[in-house]
């Protein structure tokens, strides 16, 4: 292999691929050849750097400079200026520069990265995910080597137990304990499952890990297999993640080729094999018993627990199911020890957590912070707050199972128990920021709509109850709600919480309950004043023309598609008939004098 002096790493995660990063790679190769630099500079693809909203992103080593929002036209500039002449292109740079000395700051000192700590995302955006050698160069598979050659299965389980690692899929169950249950089960036929059925709207942590560093998950699954005495593993991933599936397939075949999967791994006599099972993208299949049913080829429906999967899982055998992000931590804990892991984060929630920041936030993307970081730091420092100077209203964590937190709660340190105390939950790590333009009733309605779609229909509380809740919410959004509607909604929510069969149903009312408790005034505005404060709920909107200010030009009347505006050009001020109006807003746009108001 020839030695190159520079490497251009182009993000090939889903976000940046949509931003056409594949085209950029070709363009880079072309321009580099044109400058005769092809013997000096390498162009590689890599995983997510985190700044998905600003993508496509590119990082250049050894300078460690990240360019964001690179377009095809910019490539020539980067090649000419940076690769050829060594002058980084300032206008595209994420790195901040010192205004006085013109010195370029280290990427790790930028606001976006300085508060982050990448453990699960460790090699994401640094290595080429399709090249196992790069993973090995970063000490990959050495944790597996260590486990197989120096540790007994009980040692491995103890190490994980001692680390305090808790399941990153949402519930926060101690991973080591789960492993211990499975290890204690007699028999030789056990299974390890990786739950990559990431379904929360707006969450993409697991996808990014699998796309950026698939080997970390594979290595962890073999370690888990060794720990509990399993020889077979399944990765259950939704078919909606084609890039992740492709990279996993590549990674599995590379690992098999090197003998890191298969028979007699590292000459230890331990066998482990892995296969991918594709899911059809049903939210309920993220629930472990439904996931098991789906793997077995049946309809994805949950069954009641106990028996827990650790006793009776897939094919009726002891099974552990771990989330992708949980697994991404395993190899590092084995390598660096549980004490190292405990030194990060808080006492009850050690380690880090990856969040997918989305919604009304400037830096949309993937961030990983130590537990105990406050929501304010994540939203205002890393995420840089709401764009367009809008006022922050709430942050939704935990997806359809979680709830909303308000401005006053932003100083809460992030942790499993802390978020539950506030009526939300960690969930898998979606973090959706809402600003003054979001209606909280509408947000609750959105999540309920999602649940109604995704409920499997097995138990009545979830199948019928959530549908009824949605109807009540729609009634409120349409201005038909009364105080009784609100009471009914709350009673129904609490009943479903108590009686639904699985986690999906039990947590489904959370967004409603949390918005009712945090934003009761907005519900009341809809019910009592028949008004939507954020101006989202269409049926509650009213467009009004200021009669005194109207210049009687008639432009609005000409635009109105339903003929709801009447008046006489030059003579009588125009007026909107609220019953005919369909609230499309065209008149407001048409008015040159801005005398039409939305209320």
């Amino acid at each position: 292999m020839s030695i190159k002096r520079m490497q251009v790493l182009v993000c090939a995660g889903t976000g940046c691929t949509i931003g056409n990063s594949g085209e950029l790679i070709k363009e880079f190769e072309k321009e580099i050849r044109a400058m005769g630099l092809d013997k000096e500079v390498d162009v590689l693809r890599t995983g997510c750097l985190g700044l998905c909203g600003a993508g496509p992103n590119i990082s250049i080593y050894p300078d460690n400079i990240i360019y964001k929002g690179v377009k095809k036209e910019d490539v020539k500039d980067i090649v000419m200026e940076h690769l050829y002449k060594g002058r980084p292109v300032q206008r595209l740079m994420l790195n901040e520069t010192d205004l006085e000395t013109n010195e370029i700051h280290d990427i790790n000192h930028t606001k976006f990265y300085s508060k982050q700590k990448r453990v699960a995302l460790n090699n994401c955006g640094v290595i080429d995910p399709e090249n196992i050698n790069e993973y090995i160069a970063q000490d990959g598979y050495f944790a597996l080597g260590k486990a197989l050659s120096e540790m007994t299965p009980q040692d491995v389980v103890d190490e994980i137990k001692n680390s305090g690692l808790r399941g990153r899929g949402g519930g926060g169950f101690p991973t080591g304990l789960k492993w211990q249950f499975a290890l204690n089960e007699p028999g030789d036929e056990k299974y390890v499952i990786c739950n990559a059925d990431e379904g929360d709207p707006g969450a993409f942590m697991d996808r990014s890990i699998l796309e950026g560093n698939p080997h970390s998950v594979i290595e962890a699954m073999v370690i888990a297999g060794y720990a509990i005495g399993a020889h077979h593993g399944y990765i259950y991933i939704r078919a909606e993640y084609p890039i992740a599936v492709e990279r996993l397939n590549t990674a599995i075949s590379q690992a098999k080729e090197l003998g890191l999967l298969g028979k007699d791994i590292f000459g230890s006599g331990f066998d482990f094999d892995l296969e991918i099972r594709l899911g059809a993208g049903a939210f309920v299949c993220g629930e472990e018993t439904a996931l098991i049913k789906s793997i077995e080829g049946e309809r994805g429906m949950p069954i009641s627990k106990p028996p827990f999967p650790a006793h009776k899982g897939v094919w009726g055998k002891p099974t552990i199911i771990n989330n992708v992000e949980t697994l991404a931590n395993i190899a590092q804990i084995i390598m660096h020890g549980s004490e190292w892991f405990k030194s990060i984060g808080t006492e009850s929630s050690p380690g880090t957590k990856v969040f997918a920041l989305g919604g009304k936030i400037t830096n949309t993307g993937l961030v990983e912070v130590p537990m105990g970081t406050t929501l304010r730091e994540v939203i205002y420092e890393i995420g840089a707050g709401c764009p367009n100077n809008k006022r922050f209203k709430a942050v939704q964590t935990g997806g359809p199972s979680g709830g909303c937190l308000t401005e006053e709660q932003l100083d809460t340190p992030i942790g499993f128990d802390e978020l539950v105390k506030l009526g939300s939950m960690m969930g898998s790590g979606g973090m959706i920021v809402l600003d003054e333009d979001n209606c909280m009733v509408d947000v609750a309605r959105f999540y309920m709509d999602f649940i109604v779609d995704e409920s499997c229909g097995k138990c009545t509380p979830c199948r019928v109850g959530t549908k009824r809740m949605l109807e009540l919410l729609e009634k409120i959004c349409d201005g038909q709600g009364t105080m009784e509607t609100l009471d009914e909604l709350e009673t129904l929510a609490l009943t479903i919480k108590d009686t639904a069969l699985c986690g999906l149903g039990q947590s489904a009312p959370n967004p409603v309950l949390s918005t009712i408790s945090q934003f009761k005034d907005e519900y009341l505005a809809h019910i009592v004043d028949k008004r939507c404060p954020a101006g989202v709920c269409k049926k509650l909107l009213r467009y009004e023309i200021d009669k005194d200010a109207c210049r009687k030009c008639g432009l609005c009347a000409r635009q109105c598609p339903v003929g709801a505006i009447s008046g006489k050009i030059g003579k009588v001020a125009f007026e909107i008939d609220s019953d005919k109006c369909i609230r499309c807003g065209l008149c407001m746009k048409a008015c040159h004098f801005k005398v039409i108001e939305r209320k």
Partner: protein, 122 residues
Amino acid sequence: MKSLEDLKKIRDQAKTQMSMRGNGETDYRVVIGMATCGIAAGARPVLNTIVEEVAKAGLSVTVMQTGCIGMCTLEPIVEVFDKNNNKTTYVLIDSKKAKEIVLRHLIHGEIIEDFTVGQYKK
């Protein structure tokens, strides 16, 4: 692969590819002026020589390029920063001198006074 030893072999081979992607904590940082003046004076072969020699010797050194340093007549200029950010500026470097810098400075830690800007006389 049958043992940890085999894995180590793969790691060591792959390390060269990854070495420049570390977190920047290397023993030395070598910066070469690569603006028009530098390139015209022959900085490119100097840069490539240093990259090759560093990789061959497996040193913990980051080799970077920069723009015009300001003393265009003295190009090619090579700056060596140690861990404490102490800078040594070498001027009028060619490939042969570059090899010497790698051998004497980067490997043995000796500052080659003769090549430094301080020794330069018209």
